[in-house]
Symmetry: C2
Subunit: 359 residues, 2 copies
Amino acid sequence: MTLVRESRLEQRTIRPRIADVAREAGVSKTAVSFAFNSPDRLSPETASRIRVVAEQLGYTPHPVARMLTQRQTLTIGVLTPQALSVVFSNPFFGAFTEGVATVAEESGYALHFISPLHGSLARAMSRATVDGVVAIGLSDDHPEVEEIRRAGVPIVLVDSTAMPDHGSIEVDDVGGARAAAEHVIGLGHRDILIIGVEPALPSRTVDPGGVTGRRLRGYREAFAAIDIDIPDQRVVVGPASIAGGIAVLNGVWEDGLRPTAVLAMSDAMAIGAMRALRDMRLTVPGDVSVVGFDDIDLAQHVDPPLTTVHQPIRRKGEEAVRLLLTVIAGRDVARPEHRRLATRLIVRGSTGPVRPSRG
Amino acid sequence: MTLVRESRLEQRTIRPRIADVAREAGVSKTAVSFAFNSPDRLSPETASRIRVVAEQLGYTPHPVARMLTQRQTLTIGVLTPQALSVVFSNPFFGAFTEGVATVAEESGYALHFISPLHGSLARAMSRATVDGVVAIGLSDDHPEVEEIRRAGVPIVLVDSTAMPDHGSIEVDDVGGARAAAEHVIGLGHRDILIIGVEPALPSRTVDPGGVTGRRLRGYREAFAAIDIDIPDQRVVVGPASIAGGIAVLNGVWEDGLRPTAVLAMSDAMAIGAMRALRDMRLTVPGDVSVVGFDDIDLAQHVDPPLTTVHQPIRRKGEEAVRLLLTVIAGRDVARPEHRRLATRLIVRGSTGPVRPSRG
DNA sequence: ATCGTCGGCTAAACCGGTTTACCCGGGCAA
DNA sequence: TTGCCCGGGTAAACCGGTTTAGCCGACGAT
C-alpha cells in the first residue's frame, strides 16, 4: 500500500488510481466505479468496504478522466477578447461575473475564463475544457470569430455583435445613449466629448454593430435631432477603466478641446474623467457635466454622484448563463433566443446646466 | 466525410476525432499526432497534407483528452471559501484577480475559479482540473481544509492561515492595523468601532491566525498601548462589500453605539459605512472618522477620499502565481516559501480630530 | 553482397476513468 | 427436476488523444 514514487530530486505522493483501490479491496475497477456512481448496483457491504478502502488510500476519481468519459466538464467558459488583467480592472466586469457566477454556481457549474493566449483567442478557446461559453464583447469582425464558432461549443453572446445562430443577451444601448445625450442637450450643452471603449484589438475601427457603435449611434441620433453633427474628433476611445478615463480626458485637454459635457460609455471611464477634471481644478458639474453608462454600484458613491445610464449588469450575466444552459441541454437548438433588456437614464449630481458664460 | 449524426430532435455536428483525420489522410493516428506536436518526425509533405485534411475537417485535438495524456491542464485554480457571487462584489477581489491573471496569462495558463459546490469546497476542488491552486482567505480551521490538502495539488495560500508545508503570500496585517489605530488615537479618538470581514462559514468564531484575527490584533495592540481595552461588542463583522458596510453600520447605530471613529478591515466596507453615515446626515470626518484597509483604486475617488491602509493587492496576486508556478515546476518542493509584503497607512480625507464637544 | 543506420511511419500500450455485455450461482415457480 | 429470473459482480471496450517500441526499405560503408 505504499504509493510514493521517488524521482530524481523531489518526492511527490502519487495519487492513487481506481485500479489501486480495486486491487486493495479485492474487486474489479467496475465495482469501484459503481461504489461511487451507482452504489445500488452493489451489495451494501461491498459498496461500503470499497468506500472505506478508497478513503484510506485518499482516492478521488481523476477529474480529467471523468470529463473524458462523461463527455461533460460541468464548467462554463467566460470568453473575453481582452486580457483578463484589463477586464478585471473594470467594475462592470466584476458585476457581470457576479451574475454569471450566481447562476453557474446554483446549477453546479464552475467558471473558466478564456482570454487571448499569446494573442490568440482561438487558441485559448481550443484549449478550454468547457461545456459552453458566454462571450462578452465579442465583435463580429474579430479575426478569429469564425475559428471560435467552429469549435462547436454552445455560445451565448453578451454585448456582442448579434449572430443569428447563437443566443444573445444585450441591452438597449441606442436608447440609453440617446437618453443620455438628450439629457445634456436639455441642459444646454452643445459642445460635447464622447468617450468610448476601445476595441479589443488595436488598429481596428469601431464595429458599428458592437456596443460602442450602438451607443455612438444613440448619442448621434439625439444630436442629429437638433441638427448637430458630432465630428469624429469629438469621439475618443480608451481602455474601460478609471485609469483609461483619466488618460483619455487628459489627452483631449492637451489637444485643446474644451467640451462642456462628457458622455462616457462606461462608468469607470466617466469616473476617471471626473477625477482628471478635478485634478485640473475644474468642477463637476459646474465647469463640465459628465454622464456615464452602466450604473455600477460605485456610481452613486463618487463625488458628485454620477449621472448615468442604468443597465441590469448582473442580470445580463444571469440570463446569459440560463440561456447557455438551455442550449447545452440541447433544447432550443433550432431557433436561438435573442434577448434585449431595457436601459434607463438615472440623473444624479454630475450633470448640470451649461455655464451662461460659455453657453 | 459526412460527420453529422442525427439524434431525436436536434442535429448537432460531431467534432471529428483524430481517427477521422487519420483515415481521411490515409495515415495512422500517430502520424496525425506528430503532424501537430512534432512535425519534424514526419516528411514535410506528409505533415502538410495531414494538416490540410485536418483543416478541412475542422479538426482540433480534444482538450480533455490532451489533458489526460499530458498530465497537465495549463490551468490554475483560484479557490475562494465564499461563493463567487459574493467575492466578486468586492473590488479587492477584482484587483487581486487582475494580478493573478497577469502572471497566469503571460505564462500561458488559464484561470479556473473554485468555490463551494453545493456547500462543499472539497467537492468543488475534486472536480477542478487544475495544475495548482491559489487559495485566498482560506482559514486553517475551515472544516474541509484537510480534504483539500489531500487532493495533492500544489497550493499557495494568500491571506490565509499560514500552513508550514504550503507556500504563502501575506501582508503585514498587524502592522497596518496598528498604524491605522495609532492614527485615530493621535486624532483623539477613544470611542471606536471595528468592522471586520465575516468568516466564510457562518457561526464560526474569528480565526486568530486569519486575516481578520491579525488585523484585530493590530488594532488592539495600539489601544492597549494607551491602556484601552476594546470590548468585543465594539467589533462587528459583515460581508466584505459596500452593501455589507452599510448594513453593519446601520445595525450598530440601531444598537445605540455612537463611536467617533470607525476602523474597517476592508475599503469596501469602509465606503459602505461612510455611505450609511451620510444617509444619517452625519459628516465624515466631522462627526465620525473612517479608516479602511486595502487601498483599492476606488478609495481615492470617494468623497471624502478614504484614509486607509495600503497593501499591494495586485502584487499579491502576481507573487502568488509566480510562487505557485515554481511549485508546479517541481522546484522548491522541500522548503515552501512564505512571503510577507509591507503595508502602510495612507492618510486622506476621511479622518480628522475628534469633535471637542464629544472628545 | 552484407551490414548498419537512419528516415518515415505504424501498431499497440497507455492516461484513468465509465459503461456495456455478460457470467455465475441461488431462489422460486412450474 | 427443469427453467427462468435476478442479484451481484467482472472482463473488455471505450472516451480521444500521446508515446513507446519497433518495423520496413533505402542508402552508405566495408
